[in-house]
């Protein structure tokens, strides 16, 4: 086999791994509840494919090949542990499944159950996103740790602990009952949005967590939408993320300078992504069940409209924030409301909203100080503005955002 052929096989393996990882882990663990064992078995199968496929050619159905090989690995592992755990029913089940797989290459998509398991209320909410990223997308603990600002060792330990709890804690791999569904779906949506990296794009000079995983988050939302096409908030979340993602290239100047949303060049926004976002938002609105993600997406949609009209309809944004704060007020939304209100009417009104927020709650919340500084500056309150700018600069993580605020402070 020539070098380029081998490269082609490796690319195929990479693609199959990316597309099938979550489907295979979900299917392998749905009965055993043992995510770690499923992941180990799948890595073993992927490792074997690296020698077998270049030698024998890529199998007709690569996913089925991986599944069969991974199943054998699970069976081997269970046999190995039998002395300790005597897990007879599991073994039997797996063997039956292995037999069946020889006749059929079709297997049900169990990823939805897996998503609900990852965001189960019995699991620490801080671990919902890392679990999803690892089990559904196959990201390694080191990469996840970097994004969440945790040491790789600690992240690895927390993931192991969460998986042990899933295996031994009686967490069911099933779609929640209708009466639990809204709350449980909320947790899944929150976890996907957390992977996206919350960035309050419409505020002045603020930064959020790294957007390194933005594409992965969008991919997760697309999977979820495919599995739950009739949930308005799933479409809402996807629309929100697509709108933000559309502005990726406009967020930095050529020299790496930070550019706030209201000063971005709309010609640098991705039109296909904006159109995709609008389509999903329109789909969501057909259900007549507004929710926080649809409202957030609607705010981003108003900003995107500037590309066509040349201006921002701040009054519309204020209206959406008012609805949002009735549904679920957060520090970020109250701050966003203040910023929008200041633009729609007077800076004093925005500042009054900020003044009403408890000062302890904002002592380490960067967007609050960035917006406060901006409003004080507009009101000509120099010394107070400088003080707020300093707080915002000191709390910022992104060097470009720091530099932007230092320039503003003067």
């Amino acid at each position: 086999m020539s070098g380029s052929d081998e490269e082609k096989v490796h690319r195929t393996i990479e693609r199959v791994a990316r597309e099938s990882y979550g489907r295979l882990v979900a299917y392998l663990s749905v009965n055993t509840h043992d995510l770690a064992a499923a992941e180990d078995a799948l890595s073993e199968a992927l490792l074997k494919s690296l020698t077998a496929w270049p030698r024998d050619g890529v199998p007709q159905n690569p996913e089925a090949w991986l599944l069969t090989t991974a199943r054998h690995a699970v069976v081997d592992a269970v046999r190995h542990q039998r002395v300790v755990s005597a897990n007879e029913p599991t073994l039997q089940l797996l063997q039956e499944n292995t037999m069946a797989s020889n006749f059929s290459t079709e297997f049900p998509d169990e990823r939805l159950k897996l998503l609900f398991v990852c965001a189960h209320p019995a699991i620490d909410p801080a671990m919902h996103t890392p679990l999803m990223l690892q089990t559904v997308l196959g990201l390694d603990a080191v990469r996840i740790a970097g994004v969440f600002l945790i040491s790789p060792k600690t992240m690895g330990q927390r993931l192991v602990r969460a998986k042990t709890k899933i295996r031994d804690g009686g967490i069911q791999f099933q779609i929640p009952e209708p009466r639990d569904l809204p709350q449980r779906l909320d947790a899944v949506l929150d976890a996907i949005y957390a992977a996206f990296g919350i960035g309050w794009d419409d505020l002045v000079g603020v930064d959020g967590r790294s957007r390194e995983l933005a594409e992965e988050a969008i991919w997760l939302a697309r999977v979820l939408l495919q599995l739950m096409p009739n949930e308005a908030e799933v479409s809402g979340l996807l629309a929100l993320m697509l709108h933000c993602e559309a502005r990726r290239d406009a967020r930095r100047g050529r020299d790496g300078r930070y550019i706030p949303l209201s000063e971005q060049d709309p010609r640098l926004w991705s039109l296909p992504l904006i159109e995709d976002a609008e389509r999903h938002l329109a789909d969501a609105s057909k259900f007549g069940r507004p929710g926080r993600f649809q409202l957030e997406a609607a705010i981003q949609s108003v900003h995107a409209e500037r590309g066509r009209s040349g201006q921002i309809e701040w009054a519309a944004i204020v209206g959406f924030y008012e609805q949002l704060n009735r549904v679920s007020p957060t520090l970020g939304r109250r701050t966003g409301y203040a910023a929008a209100l200041a633009e729609a009417s007077r800076a004093e009104q925005g500042l009054a909203v900020l003044d009403a927020i408890d000062t302890d709650a904002v002592s380490a919340y960067q967007p609050y100080w960035a917006v406060r500084a901006h409003l004080l500056h507009r009101l000509g309150k120099g010394p107070e503005a400088r003080h707020a700018y300093d707080r915002a600069i000191g709390l910022a993580q992104d060097p470009a955002v720091k530099e932007f605020l230092i320039q503003k402070r003067g």
């Binding site: 600002l149 945790i150 002592s363 380490a364 003080h387 707080r391 915002a392 000191g394 709390l395 720091k402």
Partner: protein, 122 residues
């Protein structure tokens, strides 16, 4: 819990010490310090003079060795430290990520060894 942030700085960052204080690195430090103090996390901390001013002492086999310069010969050098009072390591890592040196050098977060301290200080 108390944490030490050990701040390792690049040669460029040390060079900024010679400015009149209007450069953006120093400006970012002023803002960072203020945010730390006003959030209530700051316990103590100071910048150190440049690495070349360091002198390292070692006594081996009864002989005193004196080395001109810092202990470790690395590109990034210890440039200062901050002690913070915070509820968790996660919070300390957040503050470390905001440190101006994090984007040009590195910041090591180490918990203060309370038990060892108690054994030593009684």
């Amino acid at each position: 819990m108390q944490f030490a942030l050990l701040i390792y700085e690049s040669p460029e960052a040390f060079a900024a010490r010679n400015s009149d204080g209007t450069d953006s690195y120093t400006g970012a430090w002023r803002a960072y310090h203020q945010a730390l103090v006003e959030s209530g996390a700051f316990v103590a901390g100071d910048p150190l003079e440049v690495p070349e001013t360091g002198t390292t002492i070692r006594i081996q086999d009864g002989r005193r060795g004196v080395q001109d310069g810092p202990y470790a010969d690395t590109k990034e050098q210890l440039g200062g430290f901050t002690i913070l009072e915070l509820p968790s390591l996660d919070a300390a890592l957040e503050w470390a990520a905001r440190c101006p040196a994090a984007s040009s050098g590195a910041v090591e977060v180490r918990p203060i060894a309370t038990q060892t301290k108690r054994r030593i200080t009684g």
